[in-house]
Symmetry: C2
Subunit: 330 residues, 2 copies
């Protein structure tokens, strides 16, 4: 048996409407809190939208001990705007334009973000960033790292969280830059581009940033198992099956229903089950100064098979056996 204390998922896409109702309970069942990303069809860019989205999430997860941690979609903000929204958010999420689902209105010229970053530093609002810059798909994260490093130098008190790391180079940056942190997904611990298209092509393993090379995955695994500045963010990102199994397949993997069991499998395989609490909760709480609701999540070592479909969505690891199961949450 394994007990996790107040696990938090630091990167989730809970969507809206019927999809929110379908997927949010999976996150709320297994986690005490989760960081809700703001890239809705209309991005969440002010306090009113933050509060309204928060209400929708709470309505979808009624009955669970669960706290949605809200984020604001980065745009140029005034000090007044940031002051008004600060009590309601964990941080501001920056998307370079066009890098993933609903990021069309993201930042086109990264330099132009700096005045707002200066205000965020002053007000102590963390920056969460989709760390990719324009370029060849396998290079985009590496191309963004000099930008991240420049921002860290220009705004030394700003906390920067690189979301969903995928490369070895990004891991090494964490060691060089003081107030820089990172999330790692479940699927980037397990996949390389070989899994996506090295054999037949697998739309349900297609995500952004794309899974990279074996040596990148190895570096991510080492970081997840041991790096104090790294914490779990699933980037669970459901799309209906019709949007995945079609030309123009949408990017995203719905991992919420399997996240904790699959992480327990992974940490156990690496003889590091004792590090899982740090990865799924303590390290994030330390970085953000978070105090999530108290919740004990008990996993038992018992094989089960991941369903092939959850509503309209094919979950990550569909049809695969997992060795741990979430037994009870109290």
């Amino acid at each position: 048996m394994l007990i996790l204390h107040s696990p938090v998922d630091m990167h989730v896409h809970l969507r809206q409407g019927p999809m929110l109702s379908l997927v949010a309970p999976y996150t709320a069942r297994d986690f005490a809190a989760a960081v809700a990303m703001p890239n809705l069809t209309t991005p969440v860019t002010d306090a009113e939208q933050v509060l309204s989205y928060r209400e929708s999430i709470l309505a979808a997860v009624a009955g669970h001990v669960f706290e949605p941690l809200m984020t604001l979609f980065f745009r140029p903000f005034s000090r007044q705007e940031l002051q008004a929204v600060k009590p309601h958010i964990l941080g501001v999420k920056l998307y370079p334009s066009g890098m993933t689902t609903h990021s069309e209105t993201g930042v086109a010229e990264l330099d132009q973000a700096e005045p707002t970053l200066a205000l965020m530093e002053e007000l102590d609002i963390p920056l969460l960033v989709h760390g990719e810059a324009c370029g060849f798909v396998m290079d985009r994260e590496a191309l963004f790292l000099p930008v991240a490093e420049r921002w860290a130098r220009n705004f030394p008190r700003l906390r920067i969280v690189l979301e969903h790391l995928t490369t070895r180079q990004a891991v090494t940056l964490l060691d060089r830059v003081d107030r820089m942190y990172a999330t790692i997904t479940l699927h980037h611990l397990l996949l390389t581009l070989d899994d996506v298209l090295g054999g037949l092509m697998q739309p349900h393993l297609f995500c952004k940033p794309i899974a990279k090379r074996p040596e990148d995955r190895d570096a991510l695994q080492q970081a997840a198992l041991a790096h104090p500045k790294v914490f779990f963010g699933s980037d669970t990102a459901p799309h209906p099956v019709e949007a995945k199994e079609a030309p123009g397949c949408a990017a995203g993997i719905f991992s919420a229903p399997v996240a904790l069991p699959a992480l327990a499998d992974f940490f156990e395989q690496h003889k590091a089950l004792d590090r899982l609490q740090g990865f799924v909760s303590d390290q994030a709480c330390a970085a953000y100064g978070l105090r999530p609701p108290r919740k004990e999540v008990r996993l038992v070592r018992e094989t089960w098979t991941v369903p092939r479909r959850i509503g309209t969505v094919v979950p990550y690891l569909a049809g695969k056996p997992l060795n741990w199961r979430v037994d009870a949450c109290t």
Copy 2:
């Protein structure tokens, strides 16, 4: 107007049964000859199968001036076997095991191919090779090149044709090794991995070897436009739409219906229309000592839109406009 004399497609998958009947006429309409690959559901591994497959192809293309150039699926062969089949084939096609569609029975240990390669050298039977070795998907062609170079050194009189080049490194090998040649597809002249999954994921652009980096595509373009040891092989590889728009999407792009018009577009954009005859016919004929049937293919500069579907198959460039059209073949 543009007239091509006896264009040949040096790499086609014509399939079997109803798919053969559907797709072969597109190749037979526009080309004087084409190299029919032997990776059928039961690979073509002896003279009897070669002749029977050739009959099936001829039946499917009745009425066209067209010569199928047959190949044998590589396995360990005796001298007697190779002597018996030699009059009926252009060459022997080697697939490393598991690298593409119906290659499961290919060569698992590349070193064990050498006794047969020695016989092929002695009998002057060209080797056509799917040049990928086991490894990370983006590296597989580069990993195969030392094998190709070793074979060229060990069998200096063996003609080796590297099929469907995808990397800059492979292009440079042609300059170092005397009797080594290569085919290049239409789609590898136009695509990089960015097109396949840099935005949304496009199953109809998924092929093996996978499209590579921009600098690789640039090197392929330069080679197609000017390199005397390079010639056209479309690797046209139809799959029914259900096999493409699904998990476990099959690898292959059906380019036969658009090959010559799209190549004319490409060569015209690069102000090299006068080099197209060499790429689609003369260079291959010189390398192989081929004498394809006489056939004049006339293209006119006239915009048309590629159909969105041809029978059960989505063709390459479906729905896109092309500036050249095949007008008449005599």
